[in-house]
């Protein structure tokens, strides 16, 4: 973009995690497209890597984004992405015969989920994206945050959303990486570190699930709530540190939505529209010169 023709202030966008709930970012990104607003940088974590990745990748019209989200839904339902237990690893947890333990394996096999990430990435590398896009993962060995900004986009999306020990880690540049939400589900501190832009934060949370229907939902729901709890103090520190405006678009779901419950996608997208409706003018007032 020709900077001389730019009629808005510099801004970055941070999209937090939340599994399927982070698809509620679609209306916000459609709003950016409609108003010709291009952020300087995009930050994503966990489920919050999907929409920024395909938007940065050039899928920017509202209808196309929605089609992409529903294609994802069909894939999840058809391929049963989260239904493939790794029995040898499960036996290995109790040191049973025929069990195994290795860093490459976890409770579920990752193949189908990784294929879905590849489909979303379309063979691109992070450095190929026209907007600098930074995805947050966590180093499984040191528990330090890792910010991916170059290399295979599909691997980066997978790393940022691999909820260990449900999904196995992925090795990138000699590090074994898992879900970025373990460090902080909203990578706001990294956005603060990198620039003094206005920052728009999209966060996703919900009332806790009190009656999970299976162990997967019990555990993923618990971990989501725990990382959400830790994110409060991270976010407070980031807000205190930043020297410019930060606008939060909080997407709060009053009924629990399990981490990859794709049947709830219409409800999720609708939440994105509801939140945006109340904030559109505020965003424009904040950004337009």
């Amino acid at each position: 973009m020709d900077s001389s023709s730019k009629k808005y202030r510099d801004f970055s966008v941070v999209v937090g995690g939340g599994g399927i709930k982070a698809m509620a970012a679609v209306p916000f990104f459609a709003f950016l497209s409609k108003n010709g607003l291009i952020p300087n940088q995009l930050f994503g974590c966990s489920g919050g890597t999907f929409v920024p990745s395909f938007w940065a990748n050039g899928i920017r019209e509202e209808q196309k984004m929605i089609e992409e989200v529903y294609a994802f839904q069909r894939l999840v339902v058809k391929e049963k992405l989260f239904n493939q237990l790794d029995y040898r690893t499960l036996l290995g947890m109790a040191n049973y015969p025929f069990g195994r333990f290795s860093k490459k394996h976890a409770i579920l096999f990752p193949n189908k989920f990784f294929e879905m990430c590849q489909r979303m990435a379309g063979g691109k590398k992070l450095e190929d994206l026209p907007i600098p896009t930074i995805l947050q993962a966590t180093d499984l060995d040191t528990a330090d945050p890792v910010f991916l900004e170059k290399g295979d986009l599909a691997s980066a999306i997978y790393a940022s959303s691999a909820l260990y020990p449900v999904l196995p880690p992925i090795e990138i540049d000699g590090k074994w990486l898992v879900d970025g939400g373990y460090h902080s589900e909203i990578p706001l501190m990294e956005a603060v570190r990198r620039s003094n832009d206005i920052i728009i934060v999209l966060s996703f949370d919900q009332v806790p699930e009190q009656q999970p229907s299976n162990f997967f939902k019990l555990f993923t729901g618990f971990i989501n709530q725990v990382v959400h709890y830790h994110t409060h103090s991270h976010t407070s520190l980031a807000v205190n540190t930043h020297q410019n405006e930060i606008l939060f678009l909080r997407h709060f779901f009053k009924t629990p939505i399990s981490i990859w419950d794709v049947n709830k996608l219409p409800e999720v997208i609708d939440m994105g529209y509801q939140v945006l409706k109340n904030k559109e003018q505020e965003i424009l007032n904040m950004l337009l010169l």
Partner: protein, 284 residues
């Protein structure tokens, strides 16, 4: 050196560490016994909760180590829970029972039954609290009263391997998920000075077992996540906070009794290294 409540500063001690790592805290107890120091408040988390409970019963350092070694069985969490496997992704007909996880915990319950019988937290010789995490909302929950065996179990229930426990109609799991070093409770209790071990186990380059690898990850990730919490705690706190780094370099898992000597040595090395600082703090 026993504190006089009228004149001395209040001193709180946090006992931390996953599984058997908690035994490293015995080194602190040895030093406290040597100088006849009694804390004003104790808070325990995960493996450290068991040590807090045993010390609070009046056992000395040697008795605590002997009691744990006596009842600890290597096979304590070595049995798969088929219910957890079967209904990992399937929905049971009558709804999922939350007292199941990937491994069975009946032997762990038995261990805590031996260690604590029906003793209650509020009856310990020092005011004591225990850090857990509420499963329903992922928020830290601190117990100040109730059955010690259940609360200590809750504080060390490492999901998804060890199942949570229901206490007063709420489900609780390992306190390490929310506050591996629960110093905020000591700040809230008005302690002037705080002492705690801080486990800085390096990454396991050759992990041998899923449970130890995962518990090491959880401990590291949430200790780091807690940094900003600790920053706030220190900011609110007007006294000194002494966090003593311990590196046990464990090779086995967190319930492997062959690790006991390694853990005890690491704890004693740390306490020896920081002896003067600890004494300076507790002598006030």
């Amino acid at each position: 050196m026993e504190n006089s409540p009228q004149t001395s500063k209040k001193i709180g001690v946090a006992f931390t560490g996953s599984g058997l790592q908690g035994l490293a805290n015995i080194a602190l107890i040895e030093l406290f016994e040597e100088v006849n120091f009694k804390p004003d408040f104790v808070v325990g988390c995960s493996g450290g909760a068991a040590i807090a409970g045993l010390w609070g019963q009046g056992l000395n350092a040697i008795e605590i180590q002997e009691k744990i070694s006596h009842y600890l069985n290597r096979d304590i969490i070595r049995h798969v829970d088929l219910y957890g496997f079967l209904f990992f992704y399937k929905k049971p007909r009558n709804g999922y029972k939350k007292n199941h996880a990937l491994l069975k915990a009946n032997r762990l319950h038995k261990l805590y039954n031996h260690l604590f019988d029906d003793i209650k937290l509020e009856n310990l010789q020092f005011p004591t609290a225990i850090q857990t995490t509420e499963v329903g909302n992922g928020v830290g929950a601190v117990f100040k009263q109730g059955l010690l065996k259940d609360i200590v179990y809750a504080s060390s229930a490492m999901l998804p391997f060890i199942p949570p426990i229901c206490i007063d109609n709420k489900w609780y799991a390992d306190g390490s998920f929310t506050a591996p070093i629960p110093i905020m409770e000591l700040v809230n209790r008005g302690m002037d000075h705080i002492i705690s071990l801080s486990f800085t186990e390096p990454s396991l380059k050759k992990p041998k077992n899923f449970l130890s690898y995962y518990s090491n990850f959880v401990s590291q990730v949430f200790t780091k996540a807690q940094r900003s919490q600790i920053t706030f705690a220190i900011e609110f706190h007007h006294g000194e906070t002494l966090l003593l780094p311990v590196k046990p370099h464990m090779e086995g898992d967190i319930f492997d009794r062959r690790e006991i000597n390694r853990i005890m040595t690491a704890g004693r090395d740390t306490v020896q290294q920081y002896r003067d600082e600890i004494l300076r703090l507790i002598e006030r």
